[in-house]
């Protein structure tokens, strides 16, 4: 009874549920990443490196998900690229720079 009453009063400012949710999201991602062989980690890094050569990556618009299965695992890389991105211009610029 008293616990419930305390929760009722404290509920509005309680930060523990926020902490719990943040950790659940983060750890579900990291457990996958850490448990994997280096291959998926390397793939993730190299894919992101190649993409970032051509487009400026916005950290909020990049989603990397790893899922482990018994026989196969999946690496999902979801990158939002702005529509006004001009590929020929970027290549020309790189030629100039190179």
């Amino acid at each position: 009874m008293s616990m419930r009453l305390l929760r009722l009063f404290g509920g509005r400012n309680a930060t523990a549920p926020v902490a719990r949710e943040r950790l659940q999201i983060l750890l579900s991602h990291e457990r996958g990443l850490l448990g994997q062989s280096d291959l998926l980690v390397t793939l993730r890094e190299e894919i992101l490196a190649v993409v970032s050569k051509h487009v400026a990556l916005d950290p909020d618009k990049v989603l990397v998900k790893l899922e482990r299965g018994k026989t196969v695992s999946t690496l999902e890389v979801d990158i939002e690229v702005p529509n006004n991105f001009d590929k020929s211009k970027a290549i020309a610029e790189r030629r100039m720079a190179g």
Partner: protein, 271 residues
């Protein structure tokens, strides 16, 4: 003129990451451009305390190894536009950091920021020595407790011998930051008092951060304590400490909790 400041301690769990986030945010709040750099490779946590854990794409090791360029790895804080984070890698081992690589990254950061705050890992191994290697100044985070003071003393010795400045015959400017201080317990003689700690360590005091629930609340929601509740006792103590870092003279007081109406009511009932 950019300043590289390492936040270090030797002992774990004394508040290095909390202090890095809080001091970094406090400096940024006063208009300085600041980057906080996580050196705890394999066990990063500064991203979590800063609330940027879901925005990490590249990290310090990627930059050191040339996989990513520095601007690609820097994450801008969502609340303060002149506060940035350079996260540590969670997946690589700490040997991936090299002295030259770290030196190059620090050099690049110097040209972009007023303050570079390096959050050191615990211990005295490679990660900790590289975090302090290029420092101009050091904040030694110390709890009023014997093992923490002993480890701080050890770290002070390393700052005086293993840094680039020390090897050049120059000094790293050192400051002690006492955290988790409980004035009531110190008054009852149950806790080492400030003067004892400073006398043993023979290093000037940067600030005294009182033990407070607000620190846990801030890390729960991923906000530096100075941003989460600017009026809280630890926030005021960190802001004072940041002003001292900028060279201001600020009287040394231990901020106390300002108790609200409900707390006073409950406090009185308990007493």
């Amino acid at each position: 003129m950019a300043k590289v400041l390492v936040v270090t301690s030797g002992k774990g769990g004394v508040g290095k990451t909390t202090s890095t986030a809080a001091l970094g945010a406090a400096l940024a709040q006063s208009g300085q451009s600041v980057v906080v750099v996580d050196f705890d490779v394999g066990l990063r946590n500064l991203d979590l305390v800063m609330g940027a854990e879901r925005r990490v794409v590249f990290d310090l090791i990627n930059v050191v190894q040339g996989v990513a360029k520095l601007p690609q790895a820097l994450i801008r804080d969502k609340r303060l536009e002149n506060l940035w984070l350079l996260p540590a890698s969670q997946t690589r081992d700490k040997d991936a950091l090299t002295d030259e690589g770290v030196g190059r990254v620090i050099g690049e950061l110097r040209s972009r920021f007023d303050w570079i705050l390096c959050d050191s890992p615990a211990g005295i191994e490679r990660g900790a020595t590289l975090a302090m290697r290029y420092a101009d100044e050091a904040v030694i985070v110390t709890n009023p407790e014997v093992s923490s003071v002993r480890d701080s003393d050890r770290i002070i010795g390393m700052l005086d011998s293993k840094t680039v400045r020390a090897e050049r015959g120059e000094r790293v400017e050192k400051h002690v930051l006492i955290t988790r201080y409980d004035p009531a317990r110190a008054a009852r003689g149950e806790m080492l008092n400030i003067d004892d700690i400073l006398e043993i360590l023979a290093t000037p005091l940067l600030g005294i951060i009182p033990e407070s629930q607000d620190v846990l609340k801030a890390s729960n929601v991923g906000t530096p304590v100075t941003l989460n509740d600017a009026d809280s006792a630890p926030a005021r103590a960190y802001v004072d400490a940041s002003r001292r870092l900028m060279g201001e003279q600020v009287a040394m007081v231990v901020p106390v909790e300002r108790r609200g109406f409900m707390n006073r009511l409950l406090g009185r009932r308990a007493a």
